[in-house]
């Protein structure tokens, strides 16, 4: 390695909590060479973002750091704070996770770029404006000059992140710190931004410090990798060696929990994650899954020609001026013991499909049958019966429990409200359910805030099981969880499927997880299913352009399988249509047994 551009040694950062200093990161040391991309990876609470913020000294008065941060021969920690201003945004650029909130909503995009040019490069307003246009061009924003006078609200998330990158690179910094820059973005947009960062790094001759929780992104982008765990650096090495032959048990545990797209080739059934002990690094043997799908008899969930549209109204008369075609002519079925995954990017209608099935959202037309009973035509009491058969688990375990209800109460509530059990029986059942999801019965009288994210999701699963459902709609149920917790919850779901013969409708944006857990897969785009079939068929032989595009965009947690992509500026299209829009009738082509692909309207 050439002489490092940034060299951190013995960095410790403390926060003041209730009047006492507590260290959040301890004795961090690593170097970044010129033109190198270094990834800092870790789960939540690992201190990776605090490390980035410490370098920029952005943590404020409630935090203090010691150690050394040498940047181009200068110790940033001993620099007076005023002098940091000349470093920030000038010699070190930084971008954050949330593109939607990183830009000031009431200032024009142009002003937010020119202010940094005028500050650091001493340009006058005219020169700065010309430079701003050049920068927007550089980050591939179409018709840049015209967009300078627009406000952030007119930009999509991906476009905003490009603006943020343009600002960070405005002064040609030697180092770019990117703190989870693609986490909030859809996978195809993420691929664009990653590609953009890679290209710009080469064009600009700069180093990149990339903070992320996503092992796939790490494998895709970094030369070397620092692994952090609960405030400590546990391992630093080249990315190839980290992935190929990690030394530290934690790194190995982490990697074993990361699903790799394509690793399921030849596997007929879903696969549990191997659980690696974080102390020893030893992997427990993986129990193969049983064949749970009940192929004979009626499917447990049957959806035919489901349509859900939301009117968009305007004006005094509340006239319908258009509609969001959230779900358009969707049909599928789920059998007992089977997992069907709905996969797609934001706005594709996968969640609305799930909500329409449970009638949390009213469908526009179509039929949904759960265990042979029609959900749409059900009376109020009938709907109660049906809802017992089909339960839902939501994305955010922090949000889906009532903060003012003890979790025992929360789990018992459906049983008591439906008159299925009185208090004592319900209490026993709660204890049994808690054990079934891997929690202790003594936790029943605690409140949700006393649990971690993974535990809360287990509680939500216990609550869903309270009514003995036959099918569970899991809406992004593991997306908000850390990798290792995610693996555990997925294993739990597979266990429960074996024990109870549950059918899952698994809604997710995460292709790698979907590949791991599903029997069958449906890919959704703009409210429609573009491809559906057995998991092996769809993943090993994708037919639709969109399925291929989606799979190509997924970062693979294996640096030896790195791919190069074209940078595009395509945006995810909106399912908003004029009020008089008539959707075309879609036709499907059968590729193999049960593998259907939508025929492109133009091609047909």
């Amino acid at each position: 390695m050439t002489s490092p551009i940034l060299s951190i040694s013995g960095l410790t950062t403390e926060f003041k909590v209730d009047g006492q200093w507590r260290d959040v990161i301890r004795d961090i040391s690593f170097d970044i060479g010129a033109r190198e991309t270094l990834a800092v990876v870790g789960e939540s609470g690992s201190g990776k973002s605090v490390t980035a913020m410490s370098i920029m000294r952005l943590l404020g008065a409630n935090a203090r750091s010691h150690g050394r941060i040498d940047f181009e021969g200068q110790d940033l920690l001993s620099l007076p704070l005023e002098n940091m201003q000349a470093v920030r945004g000038n010699r070190i650029g930084m971008i954050f996770q949330e593109p939607m909130t990183s830009l000031n909503p009431v200032l024009k995009i142009g002003d937010q770029i020119t202010e940094v040019l005028m500050q650091h490069r001493g340009l006058d307003h005219r020169a700065a404006t010309a430079e701003a246009i050049r920068l927007l061009d550089k980050v591939r924003i179409p018709s840049a000059a015209a967009r300078l006078n627009e406000y952030p609200m007119n930009f999509s998330g991906g476009m905003r992140q490009r603006v943020v990158i343009a600002i960070a690179l405005a002064c040609e910094p030697k180092l770019l710190i990117a703190d989870e820059p693609t986490t909030a973005l859809d996978v195809t947009i993420q691929a664009q931004i990653l590609e953009l960062i890679k290209t710009l790094q080469e064009e600009e001759d700069m180093s990149v410090l990339f903070i992320t929780h996503d092992m796939g992104v790490v494998a895709e982008i970094s030369d070397r990798t620092v692994v952090m765990y609960r405030g400590d650096v546990v391992e630093t090495d080249t990315t190839e060696r980290i992935f190929g032959n990690a030394a530290h048990p934690y790194t190995r545990a982490l990697l074993s929990a990361v699903p790799q797209l394509g690793s399921m080739a030849g596997e007929p059934r879903p696969l549990r994650f191997p659980i690696v002990d974080m102390e020893t690094g030893e992997a427990a043997p993986v129990k193969p899954t049983a064949d749970t799908v009940r192929r004979n008899g009626e499917p447990i969930l049957k959806v035919d020609n489901l349509v859900t549209r939301f009117p968009v109204r305007k004006g005094i008369l509340r006239r319908t001026v258009g509609r969001i075609h959230a779900v358009e002519d969707v049909s599928f079925e789920v059998r007992a013991g089977e997992t069907l995954s709905l996969v797609g990017e934001s706005g594709c209608g996968k969640s609305t499909t799930g909500r329409s099935i449970i009638r949390l959202t009213e469908m526009t037309s179509g039929t949904v049958e759960i265990d042979g009973r029609n959900v749409g035509e059900a009376s109020k009491t009938g709907l109660v019966e049906i809802r017992r058969e089909a339960q839902m688990i939501f994305q955010d375990p922090f949000e889906s429990l009532n903060p003012r209800m003890r979790i025992g109460q929360a789990i018992a509530e459906p049983m008591i409200a439906h008159g299925l059990a009185h208090a004592t029986v319900a209490r026993e059942r709660v204890a049994a359910l808690l054990e079934q999801v891997g929690l202790s019965p003594v936790m029943a009288d605690r409140f949700p805030h006393e649990f971690s994210g993974g535990q809360r999701q287990r509680i939500c699963i216990a609550r869903a099981l309270a009514l003995d459902p036959k099918v569970i709609v899991a809406d992004e149920s593991v997306s908000a969880l850390d990798v290792s917790i995610k693996a555990q919850v997925i294993n739990l779901m597979l266990d429960l499927q074996e024990e109870l013969g549950l059918g899952y409708l698994f809604i997710s944006h995460d292709m790698a997880v979907v590949e791991r857990i599903s029997h069958r897969v449906a890919v959704m785009y703009l409210g429609e299913i573009v491809e559906i079939g057995p998991r092996q068929a769809v993943f090993e032989n994708p037919q639709h352009d969109y399925t291929r595009k989606l799979m190509a965009a997924v970062p693979i947690a294996d640096p030896t399988r790195r791919r190069t992509r074209q940078i595009s500026s395509d945006e995810i299209r909106s399912p908003y249509r004029a009020a008089d829009y008539q959707p075309p009738k879609r036709l499907y082509r059968e590729i193999s047994d049960g593998h259907l692909v939508q025929i492109d309207a133009e091609a047909a």
Binding site: M56, L58, M84, Q85, A86, V87, R88, G89, N90, G93, M94, F96, E98, T101, S102, L103, N104, P105, V106, L107, E115, V116, Q119, H120, Y151, M153, V164, I167, A168, R313, K314, G315, I316, L317, R318
Partner: protein
């Protein structure tokens, strides 16, 4: 935009209608103003004559209809007490009230915003804590009582400032104004500050809450990461986001100041329309009460409209649209 204006105008008319019916019928039910107008020794014949001359013998809907048709021509009836057109009475006293309310508003903003920003930037500091304690006090002091205390201290004990009246006025475009003469100004200070005190506290709290919220947002952190000096972050990024929501509040508070002037005018004998309405209520001077109401409803509708338009001009996220919110 035009559909927005239309819906706003429509709303104002409906409000006017509802309020006037409510008050008209209410006043009709409550009592006969004749009892107030006549001396107890009046003969039944005199009584009848008065009743007929005011049209009080007709059914209520007919009286209301008469009121509306006259109101449309700008005639809101004659005051029972002063025997002058009620509208003239009120319009004549409006400038004094408006001057008081505007001065108080300016005071509230000029004092409240800087203090609020200071308290929001360093919420844990001693100065900030003092500001907040002051604001709780300002929030809790009853306007009328603190008015009395101010008179006692500054006028009676210290003799610095006059306790009542408007002092010398200068006429600008036929509108008498106090603040342009030294004497008028000295008369204006106490009542205006009295009226402003509550609003100063309010502005401090709103500004502080706004600043504290904005300071935690991502774009402020990003601006720091851009190397923008703290003073510019405050001036450009924080202030604009903080002050935009204040505009709505200012609109509402101007209305509230005009209404609360009732209290201050009573204490400081300020010759505005607040004093007039209190007197009118105590003698049930129906035309004056109704006229006051009509004028304030129209005034508030206009203020709200202006605020909405102003808001949409400064905040790029807001577009005016009829009906929906």
């Amino acid at each position: 935009m035009s559909s927005y204006l239309l819906s706003r105008a429509f709303q104002a008319v409906v409000t006017l209608f509802v309020m006037s019916v409510l008050v008209f019928v209410g006043l009709y039910l409550v009592g006969n103003p004749v009892d107030v107008l006549l001396s107890p020794s009046a003969t039944p014949a005199e009584r009848l004559e008065i009743i007929q001359s005011f049209g009080l013998d007709r059914p209520v809907w007919e009286q209301y209809f008469l009121f509306v048709s006259r109101a449309l021509t700008g005639d809101l009836g004659n005051s029972f007490v002063f025997n002058q057109p009620a509208l003239d009475l009120i319009l004549h006293r409006m400038p004094a009230t408006m001057e008081l309310a505007f001065t108080a508003l300016v005071m509230a903003l000029v004092i409240g915003i800087p203090l609020g920003i200071r308290a929001g930037l360093k919420p844990e500091g001693l100065i900030s804590k003092s500001i907040m304690t002051f604001s709780i006090l300002g929030f809790s002091l009853p306007t009328f009582w603190i008015g009395l205390i101010m008179i006692m201290v500054f006028s009676v004990q210290l003799g610095w400032l006059p306790a009542s009246g408007r002092g010398d006025t200068v006429s600008i475009l036929g509108v008498p104004l106090s603040f342009l003469t030294l004497d008028g100004l000295s008369h204006l200070i106490l009542p205006a500050f009295n009226l402003a005190l509550f609003k100063i506290s309010l502005v401090i709290r709103l500004t502080r809450a706004g600043v504290m919220e904005i300071m935690q947002l991502d774009f402020v952190r990003f601006a720091r990461a851009k190397g923008i000096p703290e003073s510019r972050i405050l001036r450009v990024h924080v202030l604009k986001n903080t002050l935009i929501p204040l505009i709505t509040v200012i609109g509402l508070e101007l209305g509230s100041l005009i209404a609360f002037a009732v209290v201050t005018e009573t204490i400081f004998a300020w010759p505005g329309m607040g004093k007039l309405i209190i007197d009118a209520i105590s003698v049930l001077d129906r035309p004056v009460i109704l006229a006051y109401l009509m004028i304030t409803v129209i005034m508030f509708s206009i203020i709200n409209l202006l605020v909405d338009i102003l808001y949409s001009l400064v905040d790029p996220r807001v577009r005016l649209e009829g009906g929906s919110r």
